[in-house]
Symmetry: C2
Amino acid sequence: MKYSVVVVDDHYLLSQAIGGMVQGFEKFDVLYLCKNGQELLDKLKEPNNIPDIVLMDIKMPILNGIETTEIINKEYPNLKVLALSIEEDEYTILKMLRAGARGYLLKDTKKEILEEALTKVIEEGSYYTNNVSKILTDSHENDVRTEIKDRELEFIKLACTEMNYREIADIMCCSYKTVEGYRDSLYRKLGIKNRIGLVLFAIHHNLFTP
Amino acid sequence: MKYSVVVVDDHYLLSQAIGGMVQGFEKFDVLYLCKNGQELLDKLKEPNNIPDIVLMDIKMPILNGIETTEIINKEYPNLKVLALSIEEDEYTILKMLRAGARGYLLKDTKKEILEEALTKVIEEGSYYTNNVSKILTDSHENDVRTEIKDRELEFIKLACTEMNYREIADIMCCSYKTVEGYRDSLYRKLGIKNRIGLVLFAIHHNLFTP
DNA sequence: CATATACTGGGGGAAACCCCCTAATCTTTA
DNA sequence: TAAAGATTAGGGGGTTTCCCCCAGTATATG
């Protein structure tokens, strides 16, 4: 009896290729492929379509891997998710693991590691590569990010546009001075000097995708 | 006699998976895999290592796909390159085709298209998907980008940092007023209002990678 | 040769941005 | 209940950016 696998990746050729690779593994069969999280959730409604494990990309249109994993962990707590992504920033990895992923593989691992990770996740419940466990233990960079308040995060996203602070204040329904307050507090916390620095920070930490 | 293929992609699992897929094609054999352009060029020095076609990613460390393709077209003009990338902005596609790629596939095509493209490139010399040929004919957005002078491009890259214009002037070895001139001319040409707009433009057009 | 058209610089003023300060609410937590 | 902190908002002033104006030189281009 083989374990069933579903591959979720918006780049179809890649999910086909990875699906083909998994199909070649001794203990695994590919059940089907999905192009995004929504497609997967729709499929799962049919009980026959529930696999043993989902191999999930993160950046996807409509419903991304993190949101999808959260939903899966609520609705199908026995369904295991293994993340497979190119995103290597600590915060994304942490978010994915907190969402309930049982492991996190980068797309430049090897075939053998993928096979081992799939096996370990199914048989032991989880699989962590060295770099991922290191991030789990000493995640310093994360500190600075959790310090960002909700309202500040809202501001950051608007600061990554051509709007000036007065226009941002209008959208956030607060005064110009309040917006200046968010900015000043962020500049201090993040050690940046100007709005360009803020945009770069937002991009590097996946708060904003250009 | 099968055609030989080399896959160049920095994400090793993906090149393995795509290599496996290609290996399954009737008329093709995978010769070897590479993690970047430099690795490929090193390999090609050995005549036995020259394949019939190279399947090349674009974004790679050390030597990217565009630079690599340019070199290949000079040194090995008979070696065909087929681009396979997730980059879908017009300028990157154009640059890759001008560098000498015989076709450009997005990573969300299908297995059958990949097989067809490989075959057509080898047997007929080129393969263009609909979207790519459309870009080749009516590329308007490109106009604005070719209007950017060398010195302005240099400025753009520096504007995508936390430096202020005085510091940028120092690095560019010109006066503060000259830098302001570059900025003003770019703002007019690109229809943007402030430096954030310039950074976003640079990112969207791959002039700057955060 | 004359006429564009970069490329380079400069003046000046208005607007935006940056950075320090204070302080009133309101919620959370010890 | 008192302390801590989040959220809001304002004063004041220095710096930077933005957006006009102008003009010399150098290099093509007709």
